[in-house]
């Protein structure tokens, strides 16, 4: 017997193994920081690549990975540095931002004060941009040096840092040809834009030079747009995607029963608020509003219709946000409601309850339950389930008594909510709310000082809680379902799907 001979096949196999062993070390080291691909299924289609030109939650979920804002907001509502390392109010109408050094856009150009000046002036001056109206209070944006920017405002703008969490920073060069820029945009975010198949998906790839160490955790991120919840859930259950947003309560049990899938829920930054038309006979009378409030059994709605995926309201501003306070739950007392109505001489009262079709989970069932509850105290309810644009038109025209709606405090700050719904100018074509005391407090609450803001907001809410221009039935809960392969997933209170620090097994 001679020495064992090496066949050609064995030789090739052996060489390949040796080669793999030789290259394994660097690959393994890289793999620790970044590996794999995550595919997310979002409930709305992305509309645009311009971060200043939408208020869409899905578009934000995508674009927040491409562009960084100056400040970020954590899930427990803390404002933390992103592209700004620090910020402070100099006086009631001046903010100063100190920027992070050494950050580069995906095309290599440095992020500087010029980028901030460009981005802020662009959104203020180009009033065609959807976000422009929020920034109209900005007087001037000044570059002090490469890393310092001063923003002056026409009136106190205490919520400016909160709004800036929603505005991605652009390179000043984007101004040359915006159309061209937004077909292949660059930001400073953890992922670079790769492609967008309209109506179907967006692909992003890791930005290896991201300014935060060991972020991102995956090489590639894909967002698929799957508006139908059942389709989104099927794709997750089939293992095609790793995370879905906007799960409705009645889908939770199906998803929980699927192996390999976890359901996450978190109290959202959203309070449901059904507003009265305060210029119509019914809504004008505070006794009617009180009676309606007393006749609604909120806990039953939360428990039976939303299957526990909602929280009882104790003040219009949800917990965690500046201004939140505990004013106690509104009581359910149909007897008192009947007595108040009788005393007020309201017999045969009829309310038009307008819904924006299919907008909120279980809204029609909830409205029907409310109609039955109000019927129980002698108020007849006409449910008018209208297509969204029509419902809004009806609201502007004032053709409703009660309007089913929610308010998500997307900047994690209630100034926008108060300013829109409880000032004369804001509410004019909406609820017709007009209370000079509240208006005054809102103006006083716009200062940067958080202590003053908290105090003013508490005062506002005490007035509103007593006056009840709205019914606050429950705080919403945001529900997500994810594959158990995902590591470090955080269910966001603001409905965004943010995957900066999420890895995959």
């Amino acid at each position: 017997m001679g020495a064992p001979r090496l066949s050609r096949r064995q030789f090739v196999l052996g060489s390949a193994t040796a080669l793999a062993a030789a290259t394994a070390r660097p690959r393994a080291a890289r793999a620790q920081t970044r590996r794999g691909q995550i595919i997310a299924g979002l409930s709305e289609r992305m509309l645009t690549l311009d971060p200043a030109n939408h208020y869409s939650i899905s578009s934000t979920s995508v674009l927040r990975h491409v562009y960084d804002p100056l400040l970020d907001v954590t899930n427990d509502d803390k404002f933390v540095p992103a592209l700004a390392e620090s910020w402070k109010p100099i006086n009631n109408t001046t903010w100063r931002f100190v920027l992070r050094r050494g950050v580069r856009f995906h095309d290599g150009t440095p992020f500087t004060a010029d980028s901030v000046v460009f981005t802020l002036k662009r959104v203020r001056d180009n009033t065609k941009l959807i976000k422009s109206f929020v920034y109209q209070d900005i007087e001037d944006v000044r570059k002090d040096d490469d890393v310092t920017v001063t923003v002056t405002t026409k009136r106190p703008f205490g919520s400016l840092p909160a709004h800036l969490t929603m505005l991605g920073m652009l390179p000043a060069t984007a101004g040359g040809n915006e159309d061209a820029f937004f077909t292949k945009p660059v930001g400073t975010g953890p992922f670079r834009f790769t492609s967008w198949t309209h109506g179907d998906h967006v692909e992003l790839e890791a930005n290896p030079g991201y300014w935060r160490a060991s972020v991102p955790k995956v090489d590639k991120l894909t967002f698929r747009f799957i508006p139908e919840l059942s389709t989104r859930a099927a794709a997750l259950r089939a293992g095609e995607i790793h995370v879905i947003d906007r799960v409705w309560p009645d889908m939770v049990s199906t998803l929980k029963a699927t192996s390999g899938i976890k359901v996450h829920d978190v109290p959202a930054v959203e309070a449901q608020r059904w507003h009265f038309q305060l210029a119509r006979d019914a809504g004008k009378d505070p006794r009617v509003r009180k009676a309606v409030s007393l006749a609604i059994d909120r806990n039953t709605i939360i428990k039976e219709l939303l299957l526990g995926y909602a929280r009882p309201v104790v003040s219009p501003v949800p917990p965690g946000l500046i201004g939140h306070t505990n004013l106690g739950q509104k009581p359910y007392d149909p007897d008192r409601a009947r007595a108040i109505l009788k005393q007020a001489g309201h017999q045969n009262l009829t309310l038009d309850f307008v819904l924006m079709k299919d907008l909120y989970p279980k809204q029609l069932e909830i409205a029907q339950a409310v109609a039955a509850m109000l019927g129980d105290v002698g108020i007849k309810v006409n449910i008018r389930n209208l297509e969204i644009a029509t419902a809004r038109e009806q609201r502007t025209a004032g053709n409703y008594d009660l309007f089913f709606s929610g308010w998500a405090h997307m900047p994690h700050d209630p100034d926008w909510y108060f300013g829109q719904w409880f000032t004369k100018a804001g509410a004019e074509k909406m609820t017709r709310f007009n209370d000079p005391r509240v208006e005054q407090l809102i103006a006083e609450g716009r200062v940067p000082d958080p202590k003053v803001r908290q105090q003013k907001y508490e005062e506002i809410q005490k007035i509103l809680w007593e006056d009840e221009p709205e019914i606050w039935p429950y705080y919403s809960v945001a529900i997500y379902a994810v594959s158990d392969k995902l590591r470090n997933f955080e269910a966001r209170r603001d409905y965004y799907v943010l995957l900066h620090e999420v890895g995959i097994a």
């Binding site: 289609r45 509309l47 645009t48 311009d50 030109n53 939408h54 208020y55 009033t127 065609k128 959807i130 422009s132 109206f133 198949t197 309209h198 109506g199 179907d200 998906h201 698929r224 747009f225 799957i226 508006p227 139908e228 059942s230 389709t231 989104r232 099927a234 794709a235 259950r237 089939a238 293992g239 095609e240 297509e387 969204i388 644009a389 029509t390 809004r392 038109e393 009806q394 502007t396 709606s405 308010w407 926008w416 909510y417 300013g419 829109q420 719904w421 100018a425 804001g426 004019e428 074509k429």
Partner: protein, 306 residues
């Protein structure tokens, strides 16, 4: 034939102008404010007004239509309110998905529907016929959304043979096109059966058999060709409808076609996108109808247009 074509083309142009006026006016008289749909609920009234002015919606209707017509002639259908980019581009991006789905579903319809119908007709009142009838009844009565979801659950979630939704590659095309083809296949099968049965009773078929032609030749060459006329009409109408979008199928399979686009555009009052799609699909409809009429003359030499 030539005079006929010229007349038909002229009529088509008039139809399209009519459609454009109708679409334009209807969109603007239905309630709903585009700027309000674009801006978040908490936008001040001044911002709503300003945006409506930017969108050109505060001009008198006839001026708006005049401007629209002028730019359409130049190939510009306006900016999509929602997508903030040219409406024609937004629509054209959805064309490949729409065309793929329509053509595949139509191919399935013809390849399954016609043989089923022929089989049922030549094997009348046998098991084949009854089976084909049952299939046809199912195809016509199962709602699209139910069939689609069941197919996705079975072949996507449980068996994992095919993707549950999305656009890309032939595997993703299978379930949506079956879902979409179910109804027209049934329709075509029934139609083929009934018109073939009628024709097989004609005297020239007896003559054919009498002179010794084989049964396949009698059925496929002589009978089927004549049975194709009503079929062609139905197929033409179906293609026209499907090219305008298959809303339910597209929704269930997250298919980025034109159907879902137009429905969303209507909801969001994205006038330029709705106008573009409706005018484009009206054009397609008119052209296909014209083609079908011309095809009749090829299939049936007795039909002549003067």
């Amino acid at each position: 034939m030539r005079a006929y074509l010229v007349r038909r083309l002229w009529q088509s142009a008039v139809t399209l102008v009519g459609v454009s006026i109708l679409v334009f006016v209807i969109l603007r008289v239905i309630p709903g404010d585009p700027a309000k749909m674009l801006l978040p609920e908490g936008a001040p009234q001044a911002a709503v007004e300003a945006l409506n002015r930017h969108l050109g919606l505060r001009e008198p209707l006839w001026i708006q239509y005049g401007l629209f017509l002028r730019s359409v002639v130049q190939g510009d259908f306006g900016q999509s309110f929602q997508y903030r980019s040219p409406a024609l581009r937004v629509v054209i991006e959805r064309v490949p998905a729409t065309v793929q789905l329509t053509l595949t579903a139509m191919a399935l319809t013809v390849l399954a529907g016609v043989p089923l119908g022929v089989l049922a007709a030549v094997r009348q009142r046998t098991g084949w016929d009854y089976a084909s009838t049952v299939l046809a009844v199912l195809g016509q009565s199962l709602p699209n959304f139910w069939l689609g979801i069941m197919l996705a659950l079975l072949f996507g979630v449980t068996l994992r043979w095919l993707p549950t939704s999305g656009f890309g590659g032939w595997p993703s095309l299978v379930l949506p096109s079956i879902t979409l083809a179910a109804f027209p296949t049934a329709l075509v099968a029934r139609l083929t059966r009934s018109s073939l049965i009628e024709i097989l009773g004609q005297e020239y078929i007896r003559t054919g058999r009498a002179k010794g032609l084989g049964e396949p030749r009698v059925v496929l060459r002589h009978a089927l060709r004549n049975a194709m006329i009503p079929l062609l009409t139905v197929l033409g109408l179906q293609i026209g409808t499907l090219l305008g979008g298959a809303v339910i199928t597209e929704s269930i399979f997250a298919w980025p076609g034109m159907g879902k686009l137009v429905v969303d555009a209507i909801f969001f009052r994205d006038f330029p996108v709705v106008q573009t799609i409706l005018i484009l699909s009206a054009t397609i409809f008119v052209v296909i109808n014209l083609l079908v009429d011309v095809l009749y003359t090829v299939l049936d030499p007795r039909i002549r247009y003067g």
